[in-house]
Amino acid sequence: MSPRDAPGMPSPNGNGSCNTAAVPCSCGHNHGHQPFAGQPATAPDPDALISARGLSMWRGSREVLTDINLDVKRGEIVTLIGPNGAGKTTLVRLLLGIEQPDAGRVVKPASTRIGYVPQRFEVDSAIPMTVGSFLTLGEHATLKDIRAALEETGAAKTISQQLSKLSGGETQRVLIARALLRKPNLLILDEPASGVDFTGEADLYDLIDRLRAKHNLGVLLVSHDLHVVMARSDRVICVNGHVCCSGKPEDVSQHAAYARIFGPQAASALGVYRHHHDHRHDLAGEPKPLADVPPQGRGS
């Protein structure tokens, strides 16, 4: 059966009431009801670096993505969260043009330059490759550019090491340096913290945050865990085949669908890692003063 013949493809959904705040939706499963659209399915935002409208994707007879809409603009960090198998990586592959969607479209203005950091970059030890030669591979980068990019991502000492011998955190920093050498205005990072330990994870997100501010980048992050990530995101899109809910991190974390996917303790975990926050939400979603939140957030 061709995926295009498959029945039940929902039409783009006009529900646009929920692009800033999450609205309760009863979706713990991903079929049999009209999915909740993360963004209004209108024309792509002209300011967006990348937009998706009505993306759907089938693998065999299984629909892995249904009617996905999203926009990423300059200067904002948008995080895709969702459980394993929710279709996050497939969505990224569609956005990057590695695969073509069965329905819907990806819109990128000609000015958009993407820096991509793939998930699980494990270099086969059969391939000899120093960090320095990896960074010049296919790039017109001088040694000075390479040094500067590695310096910026905190991986300067790896320049002559073998790529296959780097730690998880070093690999991610080298990949981000490669992405920066392409002078991007949009960074797409798929699970950047996989293979990185807990403190390394916080440092990595600090780095991404700094790069965003310094270069005025749009950032699209993929994560299956939430804590450190959500605290730094401007917008969170919770994906489980379709967009379950989206909005500001604190709104999404109070959302019923989110709690169903990640468990009730996930909502409270967010408060611990959020620093620049003048209030928090109780379980009913009401704003509360910050006083009873532990003062020291990350690390110990």
């Binding site: 993407i114 793939p118 970059f121 086969d124 391939i127 000899p128 120093t130 591979l137 296919g138 073998q162």
Partner: protein, 267 residues
């Protein structure tokens, strides 16, 4: 004992040296992409090409190239199915092509054909015409390899990253299969169908522990292959062992020494 100035010795030497240089960079990519079993299957499909070429009375080099390309096409289709792992599919095709090839050669011309010379090659029977194939075809292969080198390395390293950065994976991959088919056809005369992949894979394996970038590995693989050819031909003339296997023995010895040395250095 040593009949060094004999023309057939010079032809053998030039043929094997040409092949060593052509095969080295491609062999590295075979190793990086973990394709040695794929290459093995393509080269054995070449035997079927020999049979069909004899039956249709066309140039055997061309017939082998076409058979290897056809096998590469079948493998591409096989890699898309989900029923059995590619390794199992290769195990099936690998033996099917060899058995079909041997049976077909026997049926086409009867036992008068020297099957051994196709299976193990005969480097000392290389003709002037073969040398034209090796150096003419080889120049084209080297030119295309150089042109596609960077995309091939990037695809070997991480296909998604390369594709996201704007490389269309189809063209380099198809071109690579074509180059592999040409090298197999050319190498068949020298080392034979059963040992063709040794010429590609073993120098790359030998070069790996002593290299820190892809380009150095390819260059070093060529140098070590040249060394192996000279040592192997000398071994063959000295001991009267067949030429192709002697070269492969020399290459494997060099690779073993390199791996041992590499493990010492790393420790």
């Amino acid at each position: 004992m040593l009949e060094w100035p004999e023309p057939f010795v010079w032809r053998a030497l030039f043929a094997a040296l040409g092949l060593a240089i052509i095969a080295a960079p491609l062999g590295c990519i075979v190793v990086w992409r973990r394709m040695s079993y794929v290459g093995e299957t393509l080269s054995q499909a070449g035997l079927l090409g020999v049979a069909l070429g004899l039956a249709a009375n066309v140039d055997l080099t061309l017939a082998v190239i076409l058979a290897a390309i056809a096998a590469a096409g079948v493998l591409t289709l096989l890699s898309r199915q989900q029923m059995v792992p590619l390794d199992s599919a290769l195990g099936l095709m690998h033996h099917a092509t060899l058995a079909l090839g041997i049976a077909a050669i026997a049926l086409v011309k009867g036992p008068a054909i020297d099957l051994m010379s196709y299976l193990f090659g005969d480097v000392f029977a290389v003709t002037q015409n073969d040398l034209y194939w090796i150096y003419g075809g080889g120049a084209v292969v080297v030119a295309i390899t150089l042109y596609l080198w960077q995309p091939l390395v990037r695809l070997s390293l991480h296909e998604d990253l390369a594709t996201a950065e704007g490389i269309n994976p189809r063209l380099p991959r198809a071109a690579f299969d074509l180059l592999l088919a040409v090298v197999i056809a050319v190498a068949m005369k020298i080392v034979g169908i059963l040992l063709v992949m040794a010429f590609l894979v073993v120098p790359a394996v030998a070069a790996r522990p002593l290299s820190d970038t892809p380009e150095r590995m390819a260059a070093l693989a060529a140098v070590l292959a040249i060394l192996g050819v000279i040592l192997g031909l000398w071994l063959s003339l000295w001991s009267d062992a067949p030429g192709g296997p002697s070269i492969v023995i020399a290459l494997c010895t060099i690779a073993s020494i390199s791996l041992l040395a590499g493990s010492r250095i790393r420790r």
